[in-house]
């Protein structure tokens, strides 16, 4: 069975999304959960590029613009998330999700 490139790209990105989902749900280490979320964001970016390359013709750089802004937002998210992890570690001396169950310092 031969597939066109566009469904293959979409299958690739959905597999990556599901891997990120499994990682975010299964692990209890906060850093690994954040990395799973990063993988899901990357899978969304793959979709933008796949539809830009194989989708209907629009203005020439639309998909690229989407991905550039999305990467910028993802970088900001990673920085804030890891700073939060360090702040939680300073309070709890632990970054397991199950033990970070109170907001009081």
């Amino acid at each position: 069975m031969s597939l066109d490139p566009l469904p293959l790209c979409l299958l690739f990105s959905s597999a990556l999304f599901c891997l990120g989902l499994i990682g975010a749900l299964a692990r209890s280490n906060t850093i690994l959960v954040l990395l799973g979320i990063e993988l899901m964001l990357n899978a969304a970016n793959l979709n933008f590029i796949a539809f830009w390359r194989y989708g209907p013709v629009t203005s020439p750089a639309t998909g690229v613009m989407f991905v550039i802004f999305s990467i910028a937002v993802a970088a900001a998210e990673a920085a804030v998330g890891l700073a939060l992890i360090i702040a939680v570690y300073r309070h709890q001396k632990n970054i397991r999700l199950q033990e970070a169950n109170r907001l009081k310092g």
Partner: protein, 187 residues
């Protein structure tokens, strides 16, 4: 062409899967860097060179360093990068959830006819012939991207600049030591 895509996909998915199942956090982070390299290779394959280099710069260069710093700053002792095993029940339910989501997404993709999405000039071929219609690849040179960023998307560029500034300053404030009282608490 398709074989290269399959190779890139297998490499990226394998490194990501192994990274998320290892117990050593450093190994996980390094394998995820390899996975991000695979995604950059996909962007190169699809003809989005600028995005590929942005991916390498941002993820392989910057985010990976932040992740490694977070791993090393949140360990209690020198050998504390190997974490305890997670609960098996949660792992099994997470895998079942992931496979269910992938089944829904994959069925939706495989049952969708993408032929009508092809460009207007190219007549869609009947499916099953094994020949994919030749689609002229869109080109986005760095010059095009720069012109669009400075004209059409100038407002978005400014907003993303403000967002990055605020987010990175907020990250510094969050991660910084508070004052002398919190220093007394920490051993």
């Amino acid at each position: 062409m398709t074989a290269a895509l399959v190779l890139i996909a297998v490499f990226t998915l394998a490194t990501a899967a192994v990274a998320l199942s290892l117990r050593n956090l450093i190994h996980s982070a390094l394998l995820l860097i390899a996975s991000w390299f695979g995604i950059a290779a996909f962007y190169l394959w699809a003809g989005a060179e600028f995005v590929a280099f942005a991916q390498v710069l941002v993820y392989v260069g910057a985010v990976s360093m932040v992740v490694l710093f977070a791993v090393l700053l949140t360990r209690r002792s020198r050998a504390d990068t190997v974490i305890a095993p997670d609960s098996v029940a949660r792992a099994i339910s997470a895998v079942i959830t992931g496979i269910a989501v992938f089944g829904v997404l994959g069925a939706a993709i495989l049952n969708t006819s993408f032929a009508r999405l092809s460009p207007a000039g190219v007549p869609p071929l009947p499916s099953g012939t094994g020949v994919s219609p030749v689609i002229s690849a869109p080109t986005a040179t760095v010059r095009d991207i720069g012109m669009q960023l400075m004209s059409t998307h100038a407002a978005a560029l400014l907003i993303i600049g403000i967002l990055l500034t605020v987010a990175l300053l907020g990250a510094v404030v969050l991660a910084a030591q508070d004052g002398p009282e919190s220093k007394q608490e920490s051993p």
